[in-house]
Amino acid sequence: MHKLFALFHRWSHLNIEVHHAVFCVLVASLFACGGGGESTSAPAPQPSVPVEPSPTPVPQHYYLSPDLSIDPTLPEPQSTTYQQAADAVRFLQQASFGANGGQIQHLMNIGTSAWIDEQIAEPQNKHLLMLDERFKEIGLIPAPVIEDDADGYYRDIQRSDVWWEVALWGKDQLRQRVAFALSQIFVISNVSDVLYNDTRGIANFQDLLATHAFGNYRDLLKAVTLNPMMGEYLSMVRNEKANPDKNIRPDENYAREVMQLFSIGLVELELDGSVRLAPNNQPIATYDQTRIKELARVFTGFNFATLTQWWEWTNSGDSEILPMKSFSTFHDSQQKQLLNGQVLSAGQSPEQDIDNAIDNLFQHANVAPFISQQLIQRLVTSNPSPAYVARIATIFNDNGQGVRGDMAAVIKGILLDDDARNGHINQSDTFGKLKEPVLLMAQLWRAFHAEGVKVKNPDGSLSRERIRFRGSDRETGQRPYGSFSVFNFYRPDFQPPGEIKESGLLAPEFQILTESSIIAKTNFLSNAIYYRDNNDADWLAEGIGHNWDVVAPKLNLQTEFALAKQPEKLLDRLNLLLFAGQLPNVLYQELLSYLQSLPNNNTYDQKLVTFEALYLLTASPEFSVQR
């Protein structure tokens, strides 16, 4: 919990994040000062358990293992089921962290709608529980009374391991993929040191997003608002009512961003996401500075749940987890004027004010198109047609049973929409999205059943398999919970200069594709493929150093090695598995003649043929774009 600056440890100086390192400064005002504080009638803080309601019971001895099942044989191009398989891969690229043989077959068996229902019912993997177990394994107290900042980066490596293991090995694929999308709308980040050493809090925030991924948007917005990580990140925690004697007025940070980024956006939208224009042809602002100031007064009087006095400081692990609690003395209880003329009468409790303000935002007509469009962009395509946005926004406004904000219905609508299923045919030159680096790597690793690496713990013991990719920002230009600011890795309306911008198209993910990141990412792909199969990577058996933050996992490539004797068979499989059968023929032929020119006399040659095929394919422009 870091009001105090902390030295941000880095494994390598080759860091493409913009950050600065500063030094610990102890400041008297951060210690309990006494005076002015007042305990509230709120219940005593709960012990360290996840506070988001769990839809399912929690398993014991909680860890995930690599999926080492052998892939079923995939249909060949001439097969009558080939197109069905290709469609399944396309769907899985949108709805999961990537396709593999088993998932393709399963989806072909049950169909997309049943697959989504199955995924919604699938028990949620809980990052925080796994993380706490992991802390114990490596001799760290999960939630120490006083945190040691020296552990901060090491702890965050563990959190990142859990994130990646769930993404690659979890069965709750759709839930976690949607949570990743939500983490790019409701953004918190530990790139700056505000959330340094708040590892459990970030894991819990991830769980919060995943829990509400199929819940109701209104509950999600409230949970995010009261979450202490968001409270710290956007400085709502400890925000107090005005003190005119000191020219102090409420902090506007959360009030502004909850409207601009998490709910309604800056300008009025039509149901189809297009900007509504006033008679003078200008956009209509959804709010002005006055509305921000009013809303800022709503978000006063909240502080960490583990405190009994407003001015106390807390460093406890639980304060990262428990929803912020109110201290009514510090809450502005005067009348407030919200959006659309709604008035909060004076004298309401902090909780009533928050509930009413969340409802005020939730009922705004912008929420449906604003959130729907961004979810479509994260899952399916950067440039959804207005009709597609309107169809999803309609579901957002009413799921058919009179419920507004039903996220499960929205997600299902997005994925089953005709545009999602057939956009690559009907809008062949523009449909889809650049895969952000996290998704690109995840798709490779899921396709080939990546095994993790064992880690040599500080006490000499060897860990279970881990997916160690905390340094993904350095290697590829992106890291979950590592965006530069609350404005995410990229803006939803980013247009790279040149042809895409001149065409009026949006391409958010291109904001982080630069000459520098594209080379880094391509090089990482190369390192993640050559000699990374689980037979060759012997050196990994003895375990990597405990504080390494990037090691590409081992791949299971037996199926591919076996096909490499006949390069066209290998290419057919990779085309289906990685490209949903969309590899252009001219590229296929280019690759084929290259692979055929390579020595192919023994199993070693066949490995090399496989590596060559995989590297050139995954480094191709076609693999980088989900269509």
Binding site: F5, L7, H13, L14, I16, V18, H19, H20, A21, V22, F23, S29, V191, S192, S235, R238, K246, N247, I248, R249, D251, E252, N253, Q260, L266, Q289, D429, T430, K433, L434, F484, S485, F487, F494, Q495, P497, E499, I500, L505, A507, F510, I512, T514, E515, S516, S517, I518, I519, A520, N523, N527, V586, E590, Y594, E612, Y615, A619, P621, S624, R627
Partner: protein
């Protein structure tokens, strides 16, 4: 020896370079890119027209100049960076800022501006020294404006304003583009469109970013080239100059993959980016490899300093890169001090101080201090009033300009009154800027080589202000 190596490398690379230059013609800098493989006729026509335009406008310079922009993302609270120390004005400041105010005695004396004494934040001793030796100037209360704004005109909605004042990304876009258009280009990008032809090297963009994509350096034809503080990486296992035939074969296949005709705009853009990155990596690396390393010490654990050091290295390599005009962009974050400002700000200012001071020293080492001008910009200033723990989004703010060509030791522009509810305040101490970013940029751009006839294109609202040159750049 070094020069010989470069010469040899150059010969070895020559044919490949020629090939790549041809393949990339326009892609890195001049036009629509190798997208034209699949571009339709009208696009080709457009590209051709642009190339023609660029060649008509070819500029030549017999000197080298660089502009280095340090963008302070989040909105820097410069009202704590430059503070009045005369008692009346300090008391206004103290009373507005309360717990955020700096001690009067801690401020580093800068001397008088309009008969009021000012001081610099105590963490900026190095910059104070640059100010004293006339290598640094300050610009007071500059910000995003379309036209001059008075408090009354603002309150009565009788003035044109930039869109979405106080919103981070909107203000970043406005200050970097100076446009309210739906597809804005940046003012350094537009400067690049006009001046890029001056560089013999037409492959490497005139605009180089150490912080990835940004609007400021993106013009119609010139886009930022992105590199890291650590330099430029080469593509693994795809070395065109490898001594191993297998690698050469692989590289040839990959080159052909990238050059395939593509109808999807995203795959095409990816392919163009990769080709450009691949070709320029060797250009830049070769030039850096034969350039003597800067020996000026830079502070460790300071990411801004690391980026500035690389910029210094690129400036040192200007001859090998064959460039005469360059802009560099660094964006650094965490200036959005809503919370914990009292602790955060000294660290941020100390980072700036150490990094900029070292960079200026490095330009002296290179003998280039008069050719390189460093300047700051930021989303907006911050409220004078406190939210208890920090400040919120404001408007006008002070900026720094550093370099031998800067008329240093002075504060330019007009200092606002810091009393709350003064005529400069539109509420909570959000201060109306008295100088526009157009004026600030134009003063820099004129020094950089823009002509008077360029000004309206690059700084579209400059004509709304009575001074198009603020005078802080020496003749």
């Amino acid at each position: 020896m070094k020069n010989n190596k470069f010469f040899n490398d150059n010969l070895m690379h020559h044919s490949r370079r020629q090939f790549l230059r041809h393949a990339l013609y326009g892609c890195g800098s001049l036009a629509l890119g190798s997208s034209s493989f699949a571009a339709n006729a009208s696009q080709l026509h457009l590209a051709g027209a642009k190339l023609q335009q660029a060649s008509h406008a070819r500029r030549g310079f017999d000197d080298y100049k660089a502009l280095v922009c340090i963008f302070l993302y989040g909105g820097n609270d410069a009202f704590n960076m430059v503070v009045p120390t005369s008692s009346t004005e300090y008391n206004d400041y103290k009373s507005a800022r309360q717990g955020l105010a700096l001690e009067q005695s801690s401020l580093l004396a800068l001397g008088k501006h309009n008969n009021v004494d000012y001081g610099l934040h105590p963490a900026m001793a190095g910059l104070k020294n640059l100010f004293d030796t006339k290598k640094m100037a300050l610009l007071a209360n500059v910000g995003a404006l379309v036209e001059p704004v008075s408090q009354i005109a603002y309150q009565q909605n009788k003035v044109l304003l930039p869109p979405q004042l106080f919103s981070h990304n909107d203000q970043q876009i406005y200050l970097q583009s100076l446009q309210s258009a739906s597809k804005p280009t940046g003012w350094l990008g537009r400067a690049g469109d006009l001046l890029m032809s001056a560089n013999d090297n037409q492959q490497l963009s005139m605009n180089i970013s150490l912080s990835g994509n940004n609007i400021m350096q993106a013009g119609q034809n010139v886009f930022p080239y992105s590199m890291d503080a650590s330099g430029v990486n080469m593509l693994s296992r795809l070395n065109n100059d490898s001594t191993e035939q297998t690698e050469l074969n692989r590289a040839a296949v990959y080159q052909r993959i990238l050059q395939q005709q593509r109808s999807h705009l995203f795959t095409r853009h990816f392919a163009n980016t990769q080709q450009r990155a691949w070709a320029l990596a060797s250009t830049v690396n070769d030039a850096l490899a034969v350039t003597s390393p800067i020996t000026t010490p830079f502070p460790a654990e300071n990411s801004l300093a690391m980026s500035l050091k690389m910029i210094g290295q690129m400036i040192a390599a200007r001859g090998n890169l064959n460039v005469s005009r360059q802009t560099f962009f660094i964006g650094i974050g965490d200036f959005d001090t809503h919370g914990d400002q009292v602790n955060r700000q000294p660290a941020l200012f100390s980072m700036l101080d150490e990094a900029i001071t070292a960079f200026y020293a490095a330009t002296v080492e290179l003998g280039m201090e008069n050719q390189v001008t460093t300047f700051t910009a930021s989303d907006f200033g911050r409220t004078l009033s406190s939210n208890g723990d920090g400040t919120d989004h404001g408007w006008g703010s002070h900026q720094l300009m550093v370099g031998g060509a800067v008329t240093g030791g002075q504060i330019f522009g007009n200092m606002p009154t810091l009393a709350l509810n003064s005529p400069d305040d539109i509420g909570e101490g959000r201060i109306i800027p008295t100088t526009s970013m157009d004026q600030y940029g134009a003063t820099l751009g004129r020094w950089f080589g823009l002509q008077e006839s360029d000004m309206a294109d690059v700084y579209p609202n400059l004509h709304n202000f009575n001074r198009s040159d603020l005078g802080f750049m020496g003749a």
